[in-house]
């Protein structure tokens, strides 16, 4: 079903619209393509997102670069983990890149996102540098949470984590949506969860209140097929996750197609600002195990993973699409790959060598604006440290 990528090519219009056309070097290239996505499945919606999705050359460059950067960053994280530079839990996003990149493409920095513990890709698309992510993973002061959060707890403006408790971010996301509306902003909150979390009770509490109050929340089930080592079918009485908001309308979207995700998100943002919450299910796949301690092969075959990599890979499919449409050249892609490799390698190097926070920072940021002279107790009664 997913091999049916089809596209039509839109040649440069007579009247130049972008800088690309002003450049003679790229005069033979397309400036825009139209791609037909795998049909959406709709729940309680008469009309869904467009099946024909346009993509400009600028977008193609951006989407490819972002997806590839996440992939290389996660591979690097895996290596850093194996060399014991990263501690504890580490959940990699490889395979799911099209979801983060496609969603970010249809929202603005004023919109909000909250996700679960598979947060690295989202942190990057929200604007944190590769170095900010990798240094957080290695616990360095230059990490995006100064090394206090770690793999599961990354933050930046309008990005609220990074929540380590399965499902807990979903009510929080509804609350962030409430804040947007309360403040009179035309902004939405995207609250992401996995197919495992889709069975958590608190999700349904959040769906109910969000619909009751018509909050501008886009609930997104990133269905990668497995909640840890348990396949979706073994955990859910209904795996039609896009219908499980009941009275909340839903859309199934091909989560391996960045353009489908982009278009569904555009539709969803528009919808929730007018009508209240919506639920998207993005059908995707994770290549790695659940976390670094899981080889990811005991509950699925290597062949299955290999097949997805060959037939559905979001980056591979998108680059095929964009090169066939003349939006990108193989040379450009190669050049981007080289640059990304260099950028991530440099970030990894910094993540290995940057310092951790000074030890006195253990005691900071427990409370905001603590009274003067507040002391925090250490591990015995001789240790009382100042805080801020």
């Amino acid at each position: 079903m997913l091999s049916s990528f089809r596209f039509t090519i839109g040649r440069a219009p007579a009247k130049p619209k972008s800088w690309i056309l002003g450049s003679t070097q790229v005069c033979n290239m397309s400036t825009e393509m139209t791609h037909e996505v795998v049909p959406y499945k709709l729940h309680r919606l008469e009309k869904g997102p467009n099946l024909q999705v346009k993509c400009t050359r600028d977008e193609a460059l951006k989407f490819y670069k972002q997806m590839r950067t996440i992939r290389v960053m996660e591979t690097t994280a895996s290596n850093l983990y194996k060399s014991k530079m990263i501690r504890g839990f580490c959940h990699l996003y490889s395979g799911q890149e099209a979801v983060a990149v496609g969603m970010e493409a249809s929202i603005t920095p004023d919109d909000s996102i909250i996700t679960a513990y598979r947060a690295h890709g989202w942190t990057y698309t929200r604007g944190v540098s590769v170095k900010g992510v990798l240094s957080e993973l290695t616990g360095r002061s230059t990490g995006c949470a100064s090394g206090k959060g770690g793999s599961m707890h990354m933050y930046t403006k309008n990005f609220y984590g990074g929540n380590g408790i399965v499902g807990a971010q979903v009510p929080l996301g509804a609350g962030i949506a409430l804040a947007h509306r309360y403040k009179g902003e035309d902004s939405v909150c995207i609250a992401l969860y996995g197919d495992g979390a889709a069975n958590q009770g608190q999700l349904f509490e959040a769906f109910n209140i969000a619909k009751l109050w018509d909050l501008p929340a886009i609930f997104v089930c990133e269905n990668n097929g497995f909640g840890m080592g348990t396949s979706a079918e073994r955990a859910a009485a209904s795996t039609a996750y896009y219908t499980r908001g009941d009275y909340v309308p839903g859309i199934w979207v091909d989560g391996m197609d960045v353009l489908a995700v982009k278009e569904a998100t555009r539709f969803a943002k528009d919808y929730v600002l007018k009508n209240g919450p919506i639920l998207l299910e993005t059908a995707t796949y994770r290549y790695h195990g659940h976390s670094m301690s899981d080889p990811g092969t005991s509950y699925r075959s290597r062949d299955e993973i290999q097949e997805v990599r060959q037939t559905r890979d979001p980056i591979g499919k998108f680059s095929e699409l964009a090169t066939a449409a003349g939006l990108l050249t193989k040379e450009e892609i190669k050049k981007m790959d080289d640059e990304i490799k260099k950028e991530v390698a440099a970030a990894a190097e910094a993540a290995k060598t940057d310092p951790e926070l000074p030890l006195e920072e253990l005691y900071t940021y427990i409370y905001k604006n603590p009274p003067a002279n507040t002391r925090v107790r250490g591990c015995d009664d001789t240790v009382w440290a100042p805080t801020k």
Partner: protein, 362 residues
Amino acid sequence: MATLCKTISSVTRSATKLNQFSRLLSTSQRCSVQMAVRDALNTAMDEEIERDEKVFILGEEVGQYNGAYKVTKGLWEKWGDKRVMDTPITEMGFAGIAVGAAMAGLRPVCEFMTFNFSMQAIDQVINSAAKTYYMSAGQVPVPIVFRGPNGAAAGVGAQHSQCFASWYSQCPGLIVASPYSSEDARGLLKAAIRNENPVVFLENELMYGTSFEVSDEALGKDFLIPFGKAKIERAGSHITLVAHSKSVGLCLEAANELVGQGVECEVINLRTLRPLDDQTIIESVMKTNHLVTVESGWHHCGIGAEVVALVMESPAFNYLDAPVLRVTGADVPMPYAKSLEDLALPQVKNVLTAVRKSLNIS
């Protein structure tokens, strides 16, 4: 003036009227009024909603029903749906929504109908509210108040009669307040709503209807009680009694009885349980050389246990003339029958027993 200083029979009055009343008072000459704890809480919220447009209340029955215990009476009528939101009976959902709203810059007051039901939502209180500021290295503060009645009510059985003071006090990142009087309730709640951090605000249902004298100052719109500062309710030189919430009343009653025996108790109302006012306790113990803690919660890992530990680690240890004793709830789930329930909660006689044992008098 005589009319003004008359007792407010507040239960029947609307918040609006009370508010106007306190405005009159604040411009009048010094006098004091009687105010029930319920109205102290109500006026505090009313004034804070007025002061800051980011403040709103949400919870079960807080709006149109006027609050299960009428603490939010009149507020929905006055402020409308935007500022007073009725929620479904789904604690984890609405507590999570409240925390998310706080992360995104609002200042929710999240009412739990009673703190017993906060257990449904404790993950959102501990893991989402208390820890996010630290995990984000200061990027995401969570200014929220979780409030509602805590501790045993009367005749409601085991699941509805429990003190959560020690549960919440254990977690760094939370502030835990436990008011006793109307003045405490007003000053601490206003401080909680203005604070930048998550505050667990433990009220007591049995105290809602109790009236206390409230000073002119405490009726002021900017009357704030600082966290981490206890109040010496009664000065004394022979023994220190440390308590919070309703148990402060037990201590004061016991202190009055002991006067006849020539014993002067110093009664410390903790007001906040996290941070604890170590200094006031230590100084008092160094003066009286005797200490009894009183609380309605269980003894095991309780607030009293923490007070004992802090004294052990402080210079006050060397000033103790007797072991510290704890008066607490009995180590049982709360029974329903009246006679058993009475036996499960600390009474004045338990405080008297402990004081006499500490002082070695009969």
